[in-house]
Every structure is written in C-alpha cells, then in structure tokens.
C-alpha cells in the first residue's frame, strides 16, 4: 500500500508563532497507480517519558500532508508540555498516519505511519535576517529518503521550508538538484517538489547520491549552501535463486574423515535480492534446503546446513547488495569403517518469498563412501631402550596405516603381555590422540641383565566395528648401567644449572641423565633455558598423556601452580609457554623463571 519516504521528520516550533503557520510538508508514495492519499493525526501528542497530552496545537491537511499550527503555542503551553524534561528545549512527538481512503478513528494503529519530532524552543521565532543561509534553506534533518523498487513514480519531498516561506516573504530562496546524468529524479522549480520519474530496480541500483543546492538572495547579497540529498531503494523479493556458474553438482567422498559434523561438500546459490541477517530466524526460514529422499538411512546419516552472507553484484558499475547462500552436505553421525556405498543425493533449495517462476533450484551431491582398512603398515616395530632410562621415558609412537588422517574413527591400542617376565614398557593414548605412546612403565626391569630383547604383540581395535589388527613390537635394551647419583631430585625440572642438570637423572629421562636446553633471546621468550628429561618432548607446549601421569615428569608443560618471575602461561593456563632466563620447578609446588646473573650471596641462612 501507500508508504512514507521517511521514517521520521523533525522541525522546530517557537513560542507565539501565529495559528496557521505551516511547519512541515509530508509526502506519501503510491504502491499502485491511481491510489488516493489521506493524511491524518491520530491520538495525542507524546511528550517525554511516554507521557501523552491532548493535541490542541497541530493539524495536518488530509489531502496535501501539510502540517501546520492550528493554535499558537504560548509560554504556559510550553511549560506544560516540557514537564519531566530537564533539557532547555523539549521534544514532542506526533504520529502521522496514511490511508488510501478517508480515515476512521480505529484505523489509527493498523495504518502506515511516520513520526514527527517537534522541538519546542522556549523563545519566539528568530527574525529572518538573523537566520543563516543553512537555516533558511534546510532543516537540521538529513535529506535522506527511501523509495520502494517496482513502484509507480511520485513526488516525495519539497525542498522549500513552509515556515520560512511563510515568514520570510521578502527573501528570494531558490533551489537546484544537482544529479548525475540519467538519474530518475526531477525537480519542479515552481513547487520545489522532488519526484521519482520511473519505477526503480534495486537490483540495478540501490543508492542515489544527489546534492540539493540553495541560493538565498536579499538585495545584492547572495548566499549559497549545498547539502547531500540521498535516496535509498528498498528491496522486494523480486529475484529468483540462480547458480553462480551453473554448477549444481558436487562430489562428496567419505574416506578417512568419517566424523559427525564433517562438511563433505558445498554448493552455492545466489540471489540478487538482499537477505537481512537480522532477525536471524525469519531470514533463515526465507530460504529452505531439503534433502529429497525416502531412504531413512540417508535422512539419518546426512544433513544440510545453510548459511547465507551478503555479497555485492556490480551491474553497470554501481555496487548492489545481494546474497550468497551456501548449502553444505554434512555427516549427521559418524560412519563405520566398514560402510561402503555410492549414490546421488538431491537437495531442493526454495526461495519461499519469491512468487515468480523458477523459485527453486535442485542441487545434486554425488556421494561415495569408501571403506577403510584397519591395518598396520607391513612392518614390525623395534624400539631400543637405554637401560638407564627412567619411568615415563617416552620410547616411541604406534600408529596404524593412515592413522593421522582418521577423524571420527576411534582406534585403541593395546600391548598383549609377552611370554617372559620382563615387562618394562606399556602403552597409553590421550583422549584426542590417534596414536599410542609406548613408555617405560617399570624401570627396574631395565636393570635386570636377563632382560635383553622383549617381544610384544600390539593390537589396534576400531571401537565401533570391533575390527582389529596386530603386529609385533621388539624392545631391545642396551647401554651400560651408570652409577646413580646421590641426592638427585626425582624431577629434572628442579635443576637450575646445566652442570647439576646433566649430572642427575629424573623421571622420564631416556639415557639416565637429564638434558639441558640452553635458551636464547632477551626478556620473556618461549626459548627459555631449562632442565628436561627429553628436549624432544618437554617443553613442547603440550602436556601429553604420559607427562600428565606424574607432575614431576614435565612441570614445564603441565604445571597449573604458581609461576614466579617473568613468564607467560600455556594454553588453558597449563605450563610455562614463555619465561625469563632459566625456568625451574619444584613439582606440585611453584615454578620459577629468573635470570641467573646474580652471584652475590645475600644474607644466607646463617647470617
């Protein structure tokens, strides 16, 4: 139906302006040719804080939309209307309603409306001579309008200010509308009315920037002022969905990644119309994407996720907003390693608000689910272990073929106990790890000469399908036993200097001795100096499954306690990501990072 080219208008009202003073001209635009327009003021005057007051002062011409003072506003009226407002000027609000037939009172709430803000100024109207060109030509409100696309032409604004025209008859005020060539707008010199001359197409152009130029002549004096004059084109759903480069088919292969939530393939549908992302829910319902199938397995196993984003098209040089709809075929549940089938899955995309032909598009996904084998590469494992290794020494990693590519496939690893009494190593697996970590579990066995070479059977089992596979692991013990140093701490991390570090062992050491990592860099750095059971795994920023078994193995990666001295904590507040100088820890207590350049003895224990 009829609509207003603005959501709100504003104008100043002064004390003692005579009844009949025109204030503001409001326009309406038609939805279809020949529609009649009737303007009406409903209800009261809304004063501040939602307080309403009967409207004795303002009226609107039903035909022309001219808002005028029907009764002069005196000082007492002003005080009454500005109760509760502590501002020097008071703002009141009026709602102007629009209908294509003469008004009945009850229609006030259902009809189309715009808001008029009237600033009541506690002073009489200024003399024309005291007004600037800006004030004579334009009000404070920005000249910004919106016009619906595909609607008939019509006048939507009058540049001349009715109140100025009424008061300052001795001044000559003329306007011009500066616009680029071919813009669908016309300015009428006599009425100063601005009209749109043709139906607009937002998908062609959605924003017009013109300039309103005003010239004020008084005697020999001439003043000019220009302000921007903007027209935004409102969108209608008048465009069907289309495929960007005609691609309506995509392959969706399921092999190693069989995890619920995996995006298998994506197809894109464009729409020249805009799709507001606010309010989200209503916009999402506008475009639907439905899997067309009667196979329950397919409905259970796959789902379609739809996300849309604003993109820009540039028909004939100007930029216009449109929408890109992405339809993602997603695994709705994890798929067993044994599943193996191929088929075409169709998705119907439908623009529910477009009422023309071709409102929907069919998308096709060629789905092929490949089986994957649970097997070890055709090899056996052999790890050599130094007889001086300590408990939690990380010996090596066990992995079935392609294990690092698997997602959604839960493989568990197990060492089947060997047929001898030597049983120094075990295997562990972190919750997110796709491999098994072999580590020294009983270091006393390493010291027994009779234990030289131990054979284990490793079994890898897929939890879902119960399929499993085996291979052999040989652990070879080597190296001569070193003398155990007296009063060494059980954690390498306690040592603060290279000498004491490398002369001691500790949990997790591979060769019986801790390793000194010499850091470099100034200030607080990830490359801090520290004593570690194995530079390869500690510190590496990850508190892995073996290190988390005992706080003394690698506090640098796993401590959640106090770290004193310049430092930065690791992910999830675990461990020492960066430190100043040398970092050392007292397991299950504090860790320290400090420079080691202070030699002076400071009031030692006995002084």
């Amino acid at each position: 139906g009829l609509y207003f080219p603005r959501k709100e208008y504003s104008e100043n009202v002064y004390i003692d302006q005579p009844a009949g003073t025109p204030l503001l001209r409001i326009h309406a635009l038609r939805d279809s040719r020949g529609e009649a327009t009737h303007f009406h003021l409903c209800q009261n005057l809304i004063v501040s804080r939602a307080r309403s007051h009967e409207n004795h002062w303002f009226q609107i011409r039903e035909k022309t939309g001219l808002l005028y003072l029907s009764k002069s506003l005196d000082r007492e009226d002003f005080n009454m209307l500005s109760v509760g407002s502590w501002m020097p000027l008071s703002k009141v609000m009026l709602y102007v309603f629009l209908s294509s037939h003469p008004f009945q009172e009850k229609e006030c709430d259902s009809a189309m409306r715009t808001t008029v803000f009237l600033s009541l100024i506690n002073a009489t109207a200024p003399a024309c001579s005291s007004l600037t060109a800006r004030q004579l030509c334009f009000t404070e409100m920005d000249l910004s309008f919106h016009i619906k696309e595909n609607k008939p032409p019509g006048t939507f604004h009058q540049l001349q200010l009715p109140s100025v025209h009424h008061l300052c008859q001795n001044l000559s005020i003329s306007y011009k509308l500066l616009a680029a060539e071919g813009m669908p707008f016309r300015y009428n010199e006599n009425t100063t009315g601005v009209s749109v001359t043709q139906r607009l197409d937002r998908e062609e152009r959605e924003r017009y920037e013109l300039i309103a130029k005003c010239t004020v002549r008084e005697g020999f004096r001439e003043m000019q002022v220009e302000v921007p004059f903007l027209v935004n084109v409102l969108d209608e759903d008048d465009s069907p969905p289309f495929l960007p480069n005609g691609t309506d088919t995509a392959d969706a292969v399921v092999e190693f990644n069989r995890k619920e939530g995996t995006v298998l393939a994506t197809l894109t549908v464009y729409d020249a119309d805009t799709t507001p992302i606010y309010p989200l829910e209503s916009s999402r319902k506008k475009y639907t994407g439905t899997i067309i199938t009667d196979d329950p397995w397919i409905s259970e196993t796959f789902r379609v996720e739809h996300i849309f984003d604003e993109i820009h098209f540039s028909p004939n040089g100007s930029q216009v907003r449109g929408t890109q709809h992405e339809y993602k075929l997603v695994l709705n549940k994890s798929i067993s390693v044994t599943e193996h089938r191929s088929f075409q899955l169709d998705v119907l995309v439908n623009d529910t608000e477009f009422h023309g032909p071709e409102r929907s598009v069919m998308l096709h996904f060629n789905v092929s689910i490949l089986p994957v084998s649970i097997q070890f590469p055709n090899m056996t494992y052999q790890f050599t272990v130094n007889r001086n290794a300590e408990r939690f020494a990380q010996i090596g990693k066990i992995c079935i073929e392609n294990c690092m590519k698997f997602r959604g496939v839960n493989i568990t690893y197990k060492l089947l106990s060997p047929n001898v009494s030597c049983y120094p190593v075990s295997i562990l697996q972190g919750r997110e790890d796709r491999w098994g970590s072999v580590y020294v579990n009983d270091s006393s066995v390493l010291r027994r000469p009779e234990c030289k070479e131990i054979q284990y059977t490793i079994q890898a089992t897929d939890k879902q399908s119960r399929k499993h596979t085996k291979t052999l692991l040989t652990v070879v013990l080597e190296g001569t036993l070193l003398k155990k140093e007296e009063d060494c701490p059980d954690s390498c991390a306690v040592s603060k200097h290279q000498a004491e570090c490398e002369e001691c062992g500790g949990l997790g050491v591979l060769t019986g001795r801790c390793q000194w990592r010499q850091g470099s860099g100034k200030g607080i750095t990830t490359n801090y100096s520290t004593c570690t059971p194995s530079i390869k795994t500690c510190p590496d920023g990850t508190c892995d499954v073996i290190e988390s078994k005992d706080a003394a193995v690698c506090p640098q990666d796993c401590t959640s306690g106090n770290i004193i001295g310049g430092h930065g904590k690791g992910i999830g507040n675990l461990g020492i990501k960066s430190g100043h100088g040398i970092c050392y820890c007292f397991p299950r207590q504090n860790c320290y990072c400090e420079k080691d350049d202070i030699k002076e003895q400071l009031c030692d224990d006995v002084c």
Partner: protein
C-alpha cells in the same frame, strides 16, 4: 615507585608499580627457642646445617596483585610483589 622493567623479572613496561620491601635487624625478637638452638648447635648437639637460630625480617603480608601492559601490548599480572606488612619471624 619502580618501573616494571626495573623489577628485573624480565617484563618490559614503562608502567610504574609500588615496591615496598622489609629491612632491619630482629635482635629484639629473639626467643628461648633461638637461644637454645644456638647453644645446642654450638655444642654440636645438632648437626643440621640448614638451621636458623635467629628471627628474620620478612614480609608478613603482601600488597594486592598488580597488572600492567607491557611494551608489546600484552597484559601481565604479578602477585606477592610488594610487602604490605613486615615483621620478625
């Protein structure tokens, strides 16, 4: 007031923080415990070296944590930095 960089903890920042420390002798706080311990140690009745037979002047409470923005626009927080209350223990 000290600038954070001068604390020597490795942080680089021009922000200043309040740094209060304890110093002074504790002769007036010696107890029977200390006299006995000193006497028995001097007569080799106690072999422990890591033994202290005199009160030491130490903070009894610390100021609240202090936070600052370093020269690389990272925030850090340091606790138990400045002494709020001192005493002989």
């Amino acid at each position: 007031e000290v600038s954070v960089s001068e604390l020597g903890l490795g942080y680089e920042s021009d922000e200043t923080v309040l740094f209060r420390y304890c110093s002074g002798t504790c002769e007036a706080a010696v107890r029977s415990y200390d006299l006995s311990l000193k006497s028995m140690r001097s007569r080799r009745r106690i072999k422990k070296e890591k033994v202290r037979a005199r009160p030491c002047c130490r903070p009894l409470a610390y100021d609240d944590d202090v936070s600052f923005l370093d020269a690389y626009n990272r925030y850090y927080t340091v606790n138990e930095l400045s002494a709020k209350e001192c005493g002989c223990v």
